[in-house]
């Protein structure tokens, strides 16, 4: 009994500390503050209260009350956003029991929800957070024709339900080798077959919608989770995230999207540099493969300069950590943006691919992605140029809560 009381006391105390930390107003000084909402501010200041940003501007002359906890850094940026990851589903150990990003029992399973699998306490969630990543679009991985849904979640590391921003963000589909190289009999064996299956399923969903709208209630179909999910893609409320690397697969994705009037996001796109005009004309945004992805298989033609080419073509895009079945078990999107900055993107353009541009693409720009008064207090603090290999993230802040940066003790 005494033990129980003590542990209850400890839990209460822990909760109090956490609540208290989040509640403590913060004054964050940066030698340079990249707000991503206007020009960078030298000797800048960001004030935070109740998890929200209350002031952004030059520190000069700005007075704040003594209850603010003061933090200082060489560089302050918005908390980083990873536009496409599998962290929390593809666990650190890479053992069967912690790999929840792919179920291959059927070729198309849009009903699989990321929120039912996301492990907020997988060590890799805290790992990416320690580099300044505060928001991820994570979920089912490329590897089957439709693998399931993604979710947008903050990297607090509590529970999926507490940390989630969008429980169902996108439906993840794959074309090319990712949809055809399954051991399962049910996976399509060729590119044409994959597209045929996808079109058939979308037609079924359209038919389902038609029947749901029937005046006679008795003639309406019973609920079908799979088709329900696809309906959200058809009515435009949820984008279909189509991983396609080869140029013919990118064009197939655009062709299907136009046939069914889908809002799609092109994902991966190793061959994007071969079909820039077609991508641009489609109006679809791109979540580009990790800059350091391996140039093999469908991605053999990838180039580290593609990000700069997308930028020059005026195609909206974000960067991602992506998915690896082996190692690295997660990439760090900060590093991917850094390499893009070294290969044709300006510093600000590269930072935008993991802040504002990613927020726009994930439709969360009203909450995060820039240091703007009223937005969530999501920040990353660095002791130098965030893209330099030898710089450190010294502190990550999510909704006004402080988390440690990198540690090599």
């Amino acid at each position: 009994m005494k033990k129980l009381l003590l542990s209850l006391l400890a839990i209460t105390a822990a909760l109090f500390v956490r609540a208290n930390e989040a509640a403590m107003p913060l004054a964050i000084h940066g030698d340079i503050v990249y707000t991503m909402d206007g020009a960078p501010i030298k000797d800048g200041l960001v004030l935070v209260r109740d998890g929200k940003i209350t002031f952004v501007g030059p520190a000069d002359g700005r007075v704040y009350t003594a209850d603010h906890r003061v933090l200082r850094a060489a560089v302050v940026t918005p908390g980083l956003i990873d536009a496409h990851a599998t962290v929390g589903l593809s666990g650190i150990l890479n053992q069967t029991q912690d790999q929840d990003m792919l179920d291959k029992s059927a070729a198309m399973q849009p009903e699989l929800r990321a929120i039912d699998a996301y492990n907020a306490r997988d060590p890799l969630v805290a790992y990416v957070r320690s580099f300044g990543v505060t928001t991820v679009n994570t979920g089912h991985a490329p590897g089957s024709l439709i693998s399931g849904q993604t979710m947008v979640v903050k990297t607090h590391g509590r529970t999926a339900d507490e940390d989630v921003i969008k429980p169902s963000a996108m439906i993840a589909a794959s074309l090319g080798a990712n949809s055809t190289t399954s051991d399962e009999d049910k996976a399509p064996g060729t590119r044409s077959k994959a597209v045929a299956l996808l079109r058939s399923e979308l037609l079924k969903a359209q038919d389902y919608a038609r029947k749901l709208a029937l005046a006679d209630e008795t003639k309406r179909p019973s609920r079908d989770l799979r088709l329900e999910a696809l309906l959200r893609a058809l009515d435009g409320s949820q984008p279909l995230l189509v991983t396609a690397h080869r140029q013919q697969d990118i064009l197939s994705a655009i062709r299907i999207a136009q046939e069914f009037k889908l809002a799609i996001i092109l994902d991966g796109c190793a061959d994007a540099h071969l079909v820039l005009a077609e991508i641009k004309a489609s109006g679809f945004p791109v979540i580009l493969h990790p800059t350091m992805a391996r140039s093999s298989g469908d991605q053999e033609n990838l180039s580290v300069e593609t990000a700069a080419q997308l930028r020059a073509a005026g195609i909206p895009f974000a960067l991602q950590s992506g998915f690896e079945s082996y190692v690295p078990k997660t990439r760090v999107v900060l590093f991917e943006a850094g390499l893009a900055a070294a290969h044709g993107l300006s510093f600000t353009e590269a930072l935008a691919t993991i802040t504002t541009d990613a927020a726009q693409l994930l439709r969360i720009a009203d909450r995060t992605g820039s240091l703007t008064v009223g937005k969530d207090a999501d920040l990353a603090l660095y002791d130098g140029d965030p893209f330099e290999y030898t710089t450190h993230c010294t502190q990550t802040i999510i909704d006004g809560t402080l988390f440690p940066g990198e540690s090599y003790e």
């Binding site: 666990g91 650190i92 150990l93 890479n94 053992q95 069967t96 060590p123 890799l124 790992y127 990416v128 061959d271 540099h273 071969l274 350091m292 391996r294 140039s295 093999s296 298989g297 991605q299 053999e300 033609n301 990838l302 180039s303 580290v304 300069e305 079945s325 082996y326 190692v327 690295p328 078990k329 997660t330 990439r331 760090v332 590093f335 850094g338 390499l339 900055a341 070294a342 290969h343 893209f387 330099e388 290999y389 030898t390 710089t391 450190h392 990198e406 090599y408």
Partner: protein, 443 residues
């Protein structure tokens, strides 16, 4: 000692190099030179001829005769060509699935020298590389130390030891990769060590018979390719390049190396930071892999950017490796930089991709630093080798330029794009049962 490979006089490889190398001395002037051996030189001169370094030093001290061709490298940084102590470029392999111990297999017999992974490694500034078979065996085969000359056939890239033999090591591994529990493969760690001990004891006895025969053909044992190889290891003629991750597996390697007295270097060593004093006390060098995040398997759960820093502080000779295609050869310097991020000093970080790796493969007398008499292997960089913004502009091997970023084809290999890929390369598939160790990709 039975010699497997007898030198056939001057090898084709050596001949090709002699022809390619400049007869006229060439001097690179105006660059910051990081010789590794000694302090950086702000305004240095590097003078090369016949594939060797003739002089290196401050501009004020190196005298250039009128016949010297001058290459102005003002504003650039020059350092030794990088040495990668563990790679799988060329997609070669060693043993197959028939048994866990196959020292008779040679990666030499399996490398695709036309693979674009070679050009990409040149683009990454790598001039000397240890190409390994995979880690799915206790002993998976003989490794190969190569020079990344422009070659048509593998022979063009070989390095000859002074006795004419082809330079290379022996790949060993412990931990989970080789624990397959079938086809004679071990099912446990103790069994792994036991199988290895058994083989080395056989090799000791094999060598003893040869010694006793004292040249008498009637008393000589029949040649055994596997034991011959292990006998070379026992004689110190071949360094064991040992894959190992977990702290206790690391200690097991040290225990076996001590028992049999073989030279060993430890590779990957995810847990190395936990047993740094023990590694230091054993005097064993380490080659560290730097992966963007820990995990991928249980043994690598505690992998950390700090490993190299902790080992170096304990006094261990530390190198890095690409394990290409686990990490990309073109980003090799990044591993050194991430080591600095986690506390490694800059000087050791640069040594770790040059002279320390040269020591790990036993070629420190020839490569790994800019010193008079050493091979003229060097790279020209646009700036600080440890900065993300720096590009490798040129790579030179034995006085011949093998990579030039301003050349469109070389640029393609450096950044990627159509034609830079390697369609024949098997995709890294090291996941669960689908891991194909024979493909050589490992970690």
């Amino acid at each position: 000692m039975l010699s497997r490979i007898i030198s056939r006089g001057v090898s084709f490889a050596a001949l090709a190099v002699t022809l390619a190398a400049q007869e006229q001395p060439v001097a690179f002037t105006g660059a910051k030179i990081i010789p590794i051996h000694g302090a950086p030189i702000t305004n240095g001169i590097l003078l090369v001829q016949h594939g060797k370094i003739v002089a290196v030093g401050d501009a004020a001290t190196v005298r250039l005769s009128s016949e010297v061709q001058i290459i102005d490298a003002t504003g650039k940084t020059i350092m030794p060509g990088l040495v990668d102590s563990h790679s799988h470029i060329g997609g070669g392999g060693g043993g197959d699935g028939s048994s866990p111990i196959q020292p008779d297999t040679r990666v030499l017999d399996s490398i695709d020298v036309r693979s674009s992974s070679f050009q990409k490694a040149q683009a990454g500034g790598i001039t000397t590389v240890n190409v390994m078979p995979g880690s799915g065996h206790l002993i998976s085969g003989q490794t190969l130390y190569l020079k990344l000359r422009d070659g048509r056939v593998i022979d063009d890239l070989l390095i000859r030891q002074p006795d004419g033999t082809i330079a290379g090591g022996l790949k060993m591994a412990n931990g989970t990769n080789s624990q397959k529990g079938k086809n004679g493969f071990p099912g446990t760690r103790a069994k792994s060590a036991s199988l290895v001990r058994e083989q080395y004891i056989k090799a000791q006895e094999y060598q003893a018979k040869i010694d006793r025969a004292n040249g008498d053909p009637e008393k000589m044992p029949s040649r055994d390719l596997a034991l011959e190889e292990l006998a070379e290891v026992l004689a110190g003629k071949r360094i064991v390049q040992h894959h190992t991750h977990r702290h206790d597996d690391i200690i097991t390697v040290l225990r076996l190396a001590k028992e049999f007295g073989f030279k060993v270097a430890l590779h990957h060593i995810s847990d190395g930071w936990k047993v740094a004093p023990e590694i230091a006390a054993a005097g064993v060098a380490c080659s560290v892999i730097v992966i963007d995040s820990p995990g991928g398997k249980i043994e690598a759960r505690d992998a950390d950017f700090k490993t190299a820093a902790v080992l170096a502080k304990a006094g261990v000779t530390v190198g890095f490796h690409t394990d290409d295609g686990v990490t990309d050869s073109r980003l090799f310097l990044r591993s050194a930089a991430l080591g600095v991020r986690a506390g490694l000093d800059r000087e050791t970080a640069l040594a770790a991709v040059t002279i320390n790796n040269a020591k790990i493969i036993g070629l420190e007398d020839r490569v790994g630093s800019l010193e008079v008499g050493k091979d003229a292997d060097f790279i020209v960089l646009s700036g600080d080798p440890l900065s993300v913004y720096t590009q490798i502009e040129q790579t030179w091997v034995e006085g011949a330029k093998v990579f030039d970023r301003s050349d469109p084809q070389d640029h393609l290999y450096a950044v990627g794009g159509p034609g830079a890929g390697d369609p024949r390369r098997v995709y890294l598939c090291c996941f669960g049962d689908s891991f194909d160790h024979a493909q050589g990709e490992d970690l």
